[in-house]
């Protein structure tokens, strides 16, 4: 029982993110002074992640950290959708770089826009999902009920069903799934890897819902069972929210 005294577990927290829009320290200082003056207690010893996504040009990381700490924030690390090389620089300076779900998705989209060379660098970083983030999908509309034993797949499309999906039926889309009726069967959205795919239904009584490979069985849907709901991914966790 060598490690009985400690345990490592992943967990998610809400952290304040300070979005920098410039690398000019004087400007940052001036704006921070104003901001903190509004609610000094609120900002005191608050852990902060600094997003450098919107900053063009060179950044003095050391100075940014020092500046943040001067205002009594606890500096956690840097974040933002930035180039791999830049991330390495940050790490080499001894700062932590915090990956966000949003950042990594945005990261992928920039890669898609870029050349094939960048694509290969994506595979080097171990990204297994295909980089299909250009989701301007058209809709496949089905009128009527999807019965038990039937399967409907909207390939590279969103799926709109005007009717219910029966228990034992399966609806799949590479994009979003909208069900104007009850969902009692299985719904699989973002089937080819689409982090932002969502499932909407007017009555959630599903056997299974899945987005981008993350799935829930009925037992996980108790919170919104029988309600109009949309289901989406936050980080890599499925979340359901009431529609009305």
């Amino acid at each position: 029982m060598a490690d009985a005294s400690i345990e490592f577990k992943g967990s998610s927290f809400t952290l304040s993110v300070l979005h920098l829009k410039t690398s000019m320290l004087a400007h940052i200082r001036a704006d921070l002074t104003k901001k903190v003056a509004q609610a000094p207690d609120f900002f005191h010893l608050v852990p902060v992640v600094v997003s450098i996504e919107q900053v063009a040009g060179l950044i003095d990381y050391q100075a940014v950290k020092a500046l943040i700490e001067e205002f009594n924030f606890i500096f956690v690390g840097f974040t933002g959708a930035i180039e791999k090389e830049q991330r390495q620089v940050i790490r080499q300076l001894g700062f932590s770089f915090v990956n966000t779900a949003k950042a990594s998705a945005a990261d992928k989209s920039t890669l898609v826009k870029d050349t094939a060379a960048k694509q290969s660098s994506a595979s080097q970083t171990g990204s297994t999902t295909p980089a299909t983030t250009c989701h301007l999908y058209t809709d496949k509309v089905h009128r009527g009920q999807i019965r038990s034993g039937q399967q409907l797949y909207a390939k590279e499309q969103n799926l709109v069903i005007i009717g219910s999906v029966s228990a034992g039926a399966e609806v799949i889309a590479d994009g979003n799934i909208h069900i104007y009726g009850s969902l009692r069967g299985r719904a699989i959205a973002g089937a080819k890897g689409h982090h932002k795919a969502q499932i909407y239904c007017q009555n959630l009584e599903a056997e299974l819902v899945s987005i981008n490979g993350n799935y829930w069985l009925s037992e996980s849907m108790e919170a919104h069972w029988g309600s109009p709901v949309y289901i989406h991914l936050t980080d890599s966790e499925l979340t359901s929210s009431k529609l009305i």
Binding site: G144, Q145, R147, S148, G149, Q150, G163, S164, S166, A167, G168, A169, S182, R184
Partner: protein, 269 residues
Amino acid sequence: MARIIVVTSGKGGVGKTTSSAAIGLGLALKGHKVVLIDFDIGLRNLDLIMGCERRVVYDFVNVINGEATLNQALIKDKRVSSLSILPASQTRDKDALNKENVGKVLEELGKSYDFIVCDSPAGIEAGAMMALYYADEAIVTTNPEVSSVRDSDRILGMLASRSRRAELGLEPIKEHLLLTRYSPKRVEEGEMLSVEDVKDILSIPLLGVIPESQAVLKASNAGEPVILDTESDAGKAYQDVIERLLGEEVEFRFIQAEKKGILSRLFGG
């Protein structure tokens, strides 16, 4: 043109044959010319329920194979002259039927009958597909119980995709829900799905609700379709079904539990 009605369900034992017999006889009693066809090849049952099992000489398969004419195989009902029965074969299996020849037989029957009622076998295999292929209307027989509802849902999918009407892109088969073996008391106690539950899941129009009744078993054993038992709840409920099939608006009966009087409530009667 004759209306071809298939009585189907997916699941076995829910009351397809009982309903086929009652509906066939009920329509004939209204003066329509009706032929009842038993598609359950190998498990000949309809003739028993109709009480004509001793008069079967030739059957559906003989007609299909050209071994007998339709007139030789059709059995005229002794109670109602406008009703005929085309029995299934006891000795063959379901593969004995083929689409083309079944089509020819139905076409031939359509010339002289108003209604062709097809009693489907259970399951979703060739036999059941054959029974529903040529249908204009389908009576989906369902018990208020989850597995039966699931199977009915599956059959409704088949009706919409595997029938002649679906293949030719014609107007889809008209679907009717027939809820059988319904017990309002057990619904109230939460043991059974309610009419509303089943309607909500299957979302097809309700044709009738047949209450669970002792009269049904008695009628089957006697070879007298339960619709003839005008005193029984089940008989009355099938009468209503006939009215609705013929386009009448009839209020649904037997879907509420009987209110007990104060005395019977006190003495647990």
